[in-house]
Symmetry: C2
Amino acid sequence: MTQPSALSLGGERFSALYHIRSSAAELEARARDICVEQTVEFPEALITSTAIRDQIIGQIESVEEIGPERFAVRISYPIEAAGRELTQLINVLFGNISIKPGIRLMRLDLPESLGQEYPGPRFGQQGLRTLLGVQDRPLLCTALKPMGLSPAELAELAYRLALGGIDLIKDDHGLTDQGFCPFEERVRRCADAVARANAQTGRHCLYLPNVSAPAGEIDSRAHFAKDAGAGGYLFCPGLCGLDAMRRLADDDGLGLPILAHPAFQGSYCLSADSGAAHGVLYGQLNRLGGADATIFPNWGGRFSYTEDECLDIVDGATREMGRIAPIFPVPAGGMRLERVSEMIDFYGPEVILLIGGDLHAQGGDLVASCRRFETLARQSSSAIGGIRSMK
Amino acid sequence: MTQPSALSLGGERFSALYHIRSSAAELEARARDICVEQTVEFPEALITSTAIRDQIIGQIESVEEIGPERFAVRISYPIEAAGRELTQLINVLFGNISIKPGIRLMRLDLPESLGQEYPGPRFGQQGLRTLLGVQDRPLLCTALKPMGLSPAELAELAYRLALGGIDLIKDDHGLTDQGFCPFEERVRRCADAVARANAQTGRHCLYLPNVSAPAGEIDSRAHFAKDAGAGGYLFCPGLCGLDAMRRLADDDGLGLPILAHPAFQGSYCLSADSGAAHGVLYGQLNRLGGADATIFPNWGGRFSYTEDECLDIVDGATREMGRIAPIFPVPAGGMRLERVSEMIDFYGPEVILLIGGDLHAQGGDLVASCRRFETLARQSSSAIGGIRSMK
């Protein structure tokens, strides 16, 4: 075939760091295979166009041996291959090679020009603090559950949680638009309940309904929720698509913060030899997708992540990414009040603490349990020197 | 807390089969944990509502030991927890437990009533055959590539591939809306080229552009493509969301077949101990998402799937699922003409053979290589007794 392509790209490239399992002898072929698979996906020998070979195909930027049969390889791609589309950016980074064992996406680096295509979170850490009027301690979050309660019952819970001083009250991610708990009635009632509590406390507690929904209904639910007084959104990019979250974040008619939930994403991290590292999946990708905070299972809870994996998420959530703001890590998954101090020691004060069931397990009054949660967070934050001195 | 829930569900349940890695002693607790995690996600002891305990929480339907520390466990959930939302159905099946190692989703079973919420593929195997007018051999598919060619160059390729007798010509999944190959120009030119070839051959070759796109642009690209004469769509549910594909399939204003591509889904299958089995991911879920055919990497190609894993995909693509039609398996990923006979032996004639680069690697004329592809497929299909005798 003739390929007299007049292709002329700008020369700017973005890159990804991969960990590759390979013998030293095979490494170059394996890395080169990624360069081809993620771009032209065509036998290299058959590509007669010098322009395509030189400009489109991935390029190996660096190779480092990191262990027995383990290499860290940085590969770059032309920014024009991804353009302004987050879906295609992810496709170039890890589309086909997600199917190949022994390749793990560890990190991505975008040049300034490509970063401008992705505004990222509308609020980020500082914006969310400003919205809540809370600067001097970690933020407090909880979930409305269990599934099966009626909208009126959930609203009563929301009222008491807000009265107790919770900053962010989200729907459980299992609440969508079930017949036993319809979206619109739930959102109206819960938003009203939180507003009523805010009027009593003078605080700015936000109610974040779950707008994870069928593809054609996300927008309408998000707009309904905003009109009903919701203060933000819970969203599951693993169920609905990362770019659907990006669209929510970019919608100037909404302008509310987004909490990303990891449902259906977990298996992507579970093998150390494949998938994506925790930090890139829950941190960097969620930031590109416009999340202001990223929920993940804390170590030592109902799930199995290690301390290092959790720190990798913090790194992905906060590391420098051009104009894309740092977002809050939200360690969760069976957290208990008795661990608040330890969690703040571990994460520092720039964290959202998400405690669900344990607030109910304290016995006595739910409002009192929430107040205790706040007191613990404030005390532990002071004990490590508070927010200001951390900066 | 008081939970005087008046919950009253219909009693019908859907179920999933999980493989769980566990000691025999811990199995019941692990299985029970799934029942709770996927529904109420709340300490069971704190749920005072009998209605929620009895009706919402998952129920263990069967347990079978399948190996050392390996159990097959069927768990059922109330259909009302998932309702008419595919996103939420997947959330209940595997949302949070995707994060837990040692649990693999093997299969899902929907009762008739829930199946009605999901029409599935608009065409399926038989519908696609009717559309193409090809009943007597496996269908032939190829991809337009490499990335870097201009729309005019890709259209010239499309013309020759259609002239040679290919049934389905899809965009490479890396072609989206890049500046060097804009979507609209590419689709117009390629659709025209295929129509020109069809006018010469009298065949019904379909051009399937890639409509994987940012969340707000999928619909407009799909409609533009239809108006321009495209015959179907290529779509990557892993990049754009499975429900976005379902929406394309359900749109009566489109009414074109969909080929699902596995980009960014692969890591979900790579560990035998977690994620989803190949058959449920590429087969059952893609059918619920409205795909008419599912592309996956054949064994023995550039990827690493085994023969058994490929057969599991065929099972997921074709097993009985109420009114949801069987769809075509599309083994791909470095397939070569010399393997056509072996692939038809292995898959039988109800298969779409997808060969990309190797058609170009034959040397000589591309049209002639395509004709050889068809001849090989027809001969191999006759050799195993043809389509009709298989039924």
